[in-house]
């Protein structure tokens, strides 16, 4: 994947060059690319006049920011208490088998990333799985296969 430095520059110029905007810029870049490209750290550092080490420190601290490229669709499986008891491990195992990746990894075709999160605050829907911003409640093994196929088809149909 090639990173457009013009894109990064457009994002950072939405903000004035002040240190307090570091996190806001990092979040915007995360949203745009689904990860923080290495170049971005140094471009932000030049623009804000903040040491690159400080920005790198921040980027590695927050879980919402990732330095590794993420897939097009991010699947979050809740493993909080309620979801755990209602069988979230079955979902995780099913996803591991289906996509051939471990939680925290991205598929080779760059389509899916799987993450385990600790609580999504939707315990009534347990076990919950979230794809991008869409919630899927009361999940079962079969439903996981359905959802994944749905997304795969959507991509194949050029959406």
């Amino acid at each position: 994947m090639t990173i457009d430095t013009i894109d990064i520059n457009t994002i950072i110029h939405n903000y004035r060059p002040e240190k307090r905007f570091t996190l806001a810029i990092l979040q915007d870049i995360q949203n745009k690319f689904n990860f923080i490209p290495k170049e971005a750290i140094f471009i932000i550092s030049d623009y804000l006049k903040v040491p690159a080490s400080d920005i790198y420190s921040m980027a590695t601290f927050y879980k919402a920011l990732s330095l590794k490229p993420k897939g097009r669709h991010i699947i979050k499986v809740c493993n909080g208490t309620a979801c755990h008891i209602r069988g979230s491990n079955t979902l995780i195992n099913e996803l591991t088998d289906l996509l051939n990746i471990k939680p925290g990894e991205t598929t080779a075709d760059g389509l899916f990333s799987v993450e385990i999160v600790n609580c999504l605050g939707a315990c009534a829907l347990a076990p919950v799985m979230v794809v991008d911003d869409k919630y899927f409640g009361a999940m079962t093994k079969d439903k996981v296969i359905e959802v994944i196929n749905e997304y795969k088809e959507a991509v194949e149909n050029g959406k």
Partner: protein
């Protein structure tokens, strides 16, 4: 401002921390992450002392605790000794092979239960952050504390050779546990995965600093620096002093 440490009264200066007062009066408060000239960090927690406030006492970190009039402190109470031992024990488990921490544990009679000791851990860093602070004070900020939780460590961005690093070695110098490796061979200094060409002293020919560090200092001062190492510089200055004393007092 009167401050009582271990039943002896000391005169405190406004704005001082307890650690600064103690160091000034040669009162020993054990610590790892405090260095004169740096503000306290409150990271290593070894400088915990018991401060009396009214009828109650509380546990505070001496390096960040501002003194006030009538403050009464005990640096070696039963409670403090127990807590200090606990902190040293945790440090020992984190860095079981570090010479300095091992000595500290011996000094305070701390022995870790054998089943918890894992001598295969080859860690020396206690994450006190002094090196990061030193780098920041130098004006380079090439290193920082990265990651979090158990993966936390000190490094340059992406563990790459940093363009900000000038190889001055300040980080290695302040490190209380000697955790930063800096090697020098054939006029090349290696630190933080980066190699630096070293500069020779124009008097004694010793390799004493890196080209980048010298450039950095020159760019800050705006004039060219003499290429003289610390030892030779001391000699030159003492000669100058000798001369000026002669002028004042005549021949000694």
């Amino acid at each position: 401002m009167k401050v009582i440490i271990n039943n002896i009264e000391y005169e405190g200066l406004p704005g001082e921390t307890l650690m600064e007062l103690a160091k000034r009066n040669k009162v020993n408060i054990p610590n790892l992450c405090h260095k004169e000239g740096f503000e306290g960090q409150g990271r290593c927690r070894l400088c915990m002392v018991e401060a009396r406030e009214g009828n109650k006492t509380k546990i505070v970190s001496a390096c960040v605790y501002p003194i006030h009039d009538g403050l009464e402190v005990n640096t070696d109470s039963e409670k403090i000794r127990a807590m200090r031992k606990n902190i040293i024990l945790l440090l020992l488990l984190k860095t079981p092979n570090n010479e300095y921490i091992k000595k500290l544990a011996e000094e305070y009679d701390v022995k870790a239960p054998e089943r918890y000791m894992d001598f295969s851990i080859n860690e020396n860093c206690i994450l006190c952050g002094l090196c990061v602070k030193a780098c920041e004070k130098m004006g380079t900020s090439a290193i920082s504390l990265v990651n979090r939780g158990t993966g936390k460590k000190v490094s340059t961005p992406f563990d790459d050779p940093s363009k900000d690093c000038i190889g001055c070695g300040a980080c290695a110098q302040v490190c209380p546990t000697n955790a930063i490796t800096m090697t020098e061979a054939n006029g090349v200094r290696t630190i933080w995965n980066k190699e630096f060409k070293m500069v020779q002293c124009s008097i004694c020919n010793k390799h004493y600093t890196t080209e980048e560090a010298l450039d950095f200092i020159e760019s800050r001062l705006g004039n060219e620096e003499e290429k003289v190492c610390d030892t030779c510089r001391k000699k030159i200055i003492s000669e100058k002093f000798k001369e000026s004393y002669k002028n004042i007092f005549g021949q000694p």
